[in-house]
Point group: C2
Chain length 491, copies 2
């Protein structure tokens, strides 16, 4: 494990104190301008030096006509220039003493003709000046914790705990709205790798493994270039931090698409399956699954085993149970102690099997505290899945029926929702068992947003929650297996 994150070549790329940007101008339709615009909009607090041959000011910041003129040596150069002037710019950066770069520009090994030779040229320049870089043909980096967003799209994401490395172009930017809408957060740090001429996936795994803001690592993989280094890095990191990979080159059609996209050759699906398993990596079968898994893994303690209880509110306990069955989760019967304790809370129509199907509870608020607490205490279970179907309207109606004056209802609803959400979160913390919520409601519902913002993961369907719980079980299993094995990695 990397003991000191500042030793990573990615440190100044993800956390620069100052940056030079090449290619931003006052022309809003240029890509470089979009990058600088995102950096400014998202609130980066370091020093920014636009470099432009003609403009004196770029987006209202003083500009310099060439790297040699910069008043200091910035931590990082971001290069978004026409292909043919990238090499000379990188050389000028090297002369100035800059040691990190993000090369966004495309037109290298991913295209034919002179592309591969151009890529060799920039690699040679980087070696000469000891420059480490991501790209070319990439989209930069985003660090929501530092409000540093050097991609072309500004983001309104709140700080998050999922770290990401992606081989697919603008994938990380395309996930900004998705992650915020789904989980109320952005990437702790997200790297777009492009052609990986220098820094690659293995470097990202080590960096994110050491990054204190990152609790789970997502990898979007089209192909692995350095197999041995990848496996070694993943085996080390996955001992303490979960890694989830989405591999898109598996099918024949996917393979052909990747080949044309970043110029890397994808391997057979089964080979990658084996690589992931021996590296302690959990494999996701879709983008949604990758983030569901990371979100659950970053939110929950790992379960001791695969026995789960399910708490539902009528409607689809079968779906949840069936999904568990398909995800290798066992549903034990409730203990007699649990049955005894539940008696006080559930109506005669409720099924006190597993899933516990509550139909209507006597007091709807028991659903958020008394009942999950009893279920978490059941010694025969390792985890709890809870279906959340609560709306403001329900709480409103309950307060009305209690005779609460209309003028006070809104404020009371808010307080009640906040209380319920924090009490659910406290349960998970105090019992040390994973507790996964699921709901067809989204964050526009204040209960769902409240639960998530208090640290209770709520996923979008019973199937997705069951699969995420399967990933937690798998993570425990892989980690134990890795810990037992002392043999060195083999490719």
């Amino acid at each position: 494990m990397m003991s000191d994150i500042s030793k990573s070549p990615l440190y100044q790329i993800a956390r620069p104190e100052s940056i030079a940007i090449f290619g931003a101008s006052n022309n809003f339709s240029s890509m470089g301008t979009s990058v600088l615009n995102a950096i400014l909009t998202d609130g980066y607090e370091g020093r920014i030096f636009p470099v432009h041959p003609k403009e004196k000011r770029v987006l209202n910041i003083g500009a310099y006509s060439r790297a040699g003129d910069l008043p200091e040596v910035p931590d990082l150069a971001i290069i978004v220039l026409p292909t043919k002037i990238v090499a000379e710019t990188l050389r000028a950066c090297g002369e100035k003493g800059i040691r990190r770069a993000i090369i966004v520009t495309a037109g290298f090994s991913e295209v034919g003709g002179e592309g591969p030779a151009r890529q060799e040229e920039i690699k040679a320049i980087a070696r000469k000046y000891n420059i480490r870089f991501t790209g070319p043909n990439c989209i930069g980096v985003v660090n929501s914790q530092m409000k540093f967003n050097a991609t072309f799209l500004s983001s309104t994401c709140r700080p998050g705990f999922i770290g990401m490395a992606s081989q697919s172009g603008s994938f990380i930017t395309q996930m900004f709205d998705y992650l915020e809408a789904r989980f109320g957060q952005g990437f702790s740090t997200g790297f777009s790798l492009g052609n990986e001429a220098d820094i690659d996936m293995a470097d990202c795994i080590r960096y994110l493994g050491a990054c204190p803001d990152t609790r789970a690592i997502a990898l979007y993989i089209e192909s692995i270039r350095r197999g041995r280094e990848f496996i070694e890095a993943a085996r080390e990191v996955s001992l303490t931090k979960p890694i989830v990979a989405f591999y898109v080159g598996g099918s024949e059609t996917g393979k052909r698409a990747c080949l044309s996209h970043t110029g890397a050759l994808a391997g057979p699906d089964r080979l990658y399956d084996g690589v992931f398993k021996q590296s302690g990596i959990i494999r996701a079968r879709s983008v949604e699954e990758m983030f569901d898994f990371c979100y659950a893994l970053g939110s929950c303690p790992l379960p001791k085993g695969k026995r789960a209880l399910i708490q539902t509110h009528s409607g689809g306990p079968g779906a949840a149970a069936d999904a568990c069955g398909r995800s290798g989760i066992e549903l034990p019967a409730l203990s007699s102690a649990t049955l005894e304790k539940l008696r006080a809370y559930v109506p005669h129509t409720a099924s006190v099997k597993n899933p516990v199907d509550l139909t209507f509870t006597k007091n709807p608020l028991d659903y958020f505290k008394a009942i999950p607490e009893i279920l978490l205490e059941d010694e025969g279970a390792d985890s709890l899945l809870v279906y959340f179907l609560a709306t403001e309207a329900m709480v409103n109606r309950a307060l009305e029926s209690l005779g609460v004056p209309e003028a006070e209802i809104d404020a009371q609803v808010k307080t009640i929702i906040e209380d319920q959400c924090t009490s659910v979160a406290a349960l998970m913390a105090s019992h040390g068992k994973p507790m996964l919520g699921f709901s067809f409601l989204n964050r526009q519902n204040p209960f769902i947003a409240g639960l998530q913002d208090n640290g209770v993961p709520v996923l979008a369907s019973p199937e997705r929650a069951a699969r995420a719980l399967g990933a937690l079980v798998e993570c425990s299993r892989l980690r134990e297996k890795l810990a037992r094995s002392k043999r060195p990695a083999s490719v």
Copy 2:
């Protein structure tokens, strides 16, 4: 095929001109009150007669003390009373001449003890008076086209085209927010069936098959009670209207959960697979898939074959291609005519293979019209998948860079978005090929809402779009097979 929908026993249940409701009061915490509240809130325009032994007015509507006192014979009785007085109430309805009922009350065959005998009793009463009913132990019905919502939860859904029959209690109500948030619509008609003591899934299939507002049918199945009738109904209807089933009793754990839920025994997974195939039914593996499939099937013409083109915007063409590979979709090469026509629109960095990876287009608006039009014209392809990544901010920036005055930008953005969305919709209509969009953005993005509201289905990920396209291909195949076979259905 049922030629006249008014002959269905469900006609007056889904489209009553007048209703009597038993069990609503002025106590807001009672279930019956919630049902009446939903009926009123959603704007039902028929006549409503609450029946209550003591109250003179219920939720501000004049009430009657018993069925015999009603001033007319309503089309439908909704019964939400304690279990022990359901039978006598149903008898009183029969005496009055009421011929349709929804029995929401639980405590019948799904529980032990006297439950099964109570169910036999209400069946006998219904037979005597020629009453057809749904339930007991169900959640009623919703008809978004008529603003008739007799479930316990009010809905703000707009009229939709997905018809639904569910064996799982409150499932339909739990989908209101989901469908609205995901697709901007509610159920054309949704039935909750409960114990199916009288009307069952086969009746719903025939009703929804004949319902002019319904373009695709979703079934949430825990068990099929009348196998022959189910298959016959499905075989007839699926010749002209797609049916998608989600079966939750498949795994052992799912089976046990269903048994305790509505008292029906689920069968082995493979048996159901066979039943669905011979009935022309497309099987979904999750709730999300069921609605994705219905939404796509209700939006698109069926494809002639399984060859698709994919249009992407950088970022994950591999994921889309891979997902197609896994869903049995073929990705042919572009024709030379298509390549020739595309030349004018794409930058040199774009890959003009399939997926067509546009990275940046010269004019971003070509993405919505010129380019998909060229791809739809390709004679080697049967369908088109399009990745949508467009934001207001992008259009804003484009207008700024064209020098549009700031005061006019908002209005112009709105017009441009509307224009783009209608032009995409027009393409699908004029080419007669299915065109499925996908995006990680949701309806909070005005492009996604605009596309969907103009009839272009946009799904939540490349995998989900590819699987939905797979369902379209499967639907064509099953329909042809059914049409060829003239043999009668066999169980």
